[in-house]
């Protein structure tokens, strides 16, 4: 029983409440925006776990596998470099060099064992076409198109990726042409030319 039922003017209160009970809906892109953010959090968590495990491995490593920072003065640095160069010259004469392994370049996405499906989402309602590019496909532009979601504002694609760290970005084509877009939801990295890309770290497939 409602609290105002004993009151003489409960009809007016009921009218207020009924009015307030009118359903209210959010933008139809709400789910996609939340899930974009959630995937960003999930990727960041994976990234953090990876960093922790790397630090743990580093700490557990024997002394000869640990990384050390050595500070040298300019003169002592030059002397050390000259020594190393000399040792290398001698070594090159003594040790016969094995034949270099052939370099094999694979077009498209690499597919070694232990792949894990990764979802990529970009919300951009002005885009006419979106592609995914990354080190996993040699940054080749038109190999991995994203599909427009039913609401027309978000673009998604799921691809299998091997374990480890990958850099990627989106190419967005709209009425102004094509532009490079880093994923706003994942950690970014800038190359020597000032281009920003994104980082995804893939855990081992379970």
């Amino acid at each position: 029983m409602m609290d105002w039922n004993d009151e003489p003017d409960r009809a007016s209160v009921e009218k207020i409440i009924n009015h307030l009970r009118t359903p209210v809906s959010l933008d139809e892109t709400f789910d996609l925006r939340v899930m974009s953010a959630v995937h960003g959090v999930a990727l960041a968590q994976v990234d953090a776990q990876h960093s922790v495990s790397e630090a743990t491995e580093e700490n557990a490593a024997p002394w000869w596998r640990k990384k050390y920072t050595v500070r040298l003065s300019a003169w002592s640095g030059l002397a050390l470099a000259a020594s190393i160069f000399g040792i290398m010259l001698i070594g090159a004469k003594i040790i016969s060099r094995p034949a270099a392994a052939p370099v094999v370049r694979t077009a498209g996405i690499q597919r070694p064992a232990g792949l894990k499906t990764v979802n990529f989402i970009l919300v951009d309602e002005s885009a006419r076409q979106v592609w995914l590019v990354g080190d996993f496909n040699g940054w080749s532009k038109k190999q991995i198109p994203l599909e427009r979601a039913a609401n027309g504002r978000a673009w998604t694609v799921s691809i299998p990726l091997s374990q480890g760290r990958h850099e990627y970005a989106f190419i967005v084509a709209d009425e102004n042409g094509e532009r490079w877009v880093a994923d706003p939801l994942t950690p970014a990295v800038e190359d020597d030319f000032g281009t920003t890309s994104s980082i995804v770290r893939v855990e081992a497939a379970s």
């Binding site: 007016s12 009118t22 209210v24 959010l26 999930a42």
Partner: protein, 185 residues
Amino acid sequence: MGHGSLSERPDASIVAAVLTGNTDAYGVLVYRYRDAYTRFAAHMLGSLEDADDALQLAFVRAFRNLAQCRDPDKFGSWLYQIVVNECRTLAARRAKRERRMIRSDERMNGASTNHPANEMALHDEIQYALSRLEPAQREAFLLRHVEALSYEEISEITGDGISALKMRVKRATARLRDLLEGVVT
């Protein structure tokens, strides 16, 4: 959304799926609770844009802390606590801003062009009266009468005692009646 049979499963099962790495499964929970909590947030904050912010923050916070949901069968109640807290935080942060009334624009279901002008005016009057309530009273009133929760449920969500909640609801009801006297008959 295309979540297949997952959408039929209870909250606890979906929470378990998310915690074992199926991030997409969380979309089922978002879809399941989005509309149910939007109305409360919109009325609490007086703006659909703010409600959108609060709900988005709440869903992301819930995902981030999902492992701390001690009773996954009651995920909805746990999420409600987070939504209420996000609304309180946003309301406090924006208290100095001009209090905005919910606009009866095309983004509001049931308040579109089908409503006659006097209904629109009534809607705005009620929203304005609601915005004049103290936040704690508005929160208790909305949860009790608009969202139809029991006092026990409200107490669990807000952390407030039942006696205090009853008092707030009573005062909010009386205040609304006074503010809307002559408008709602």
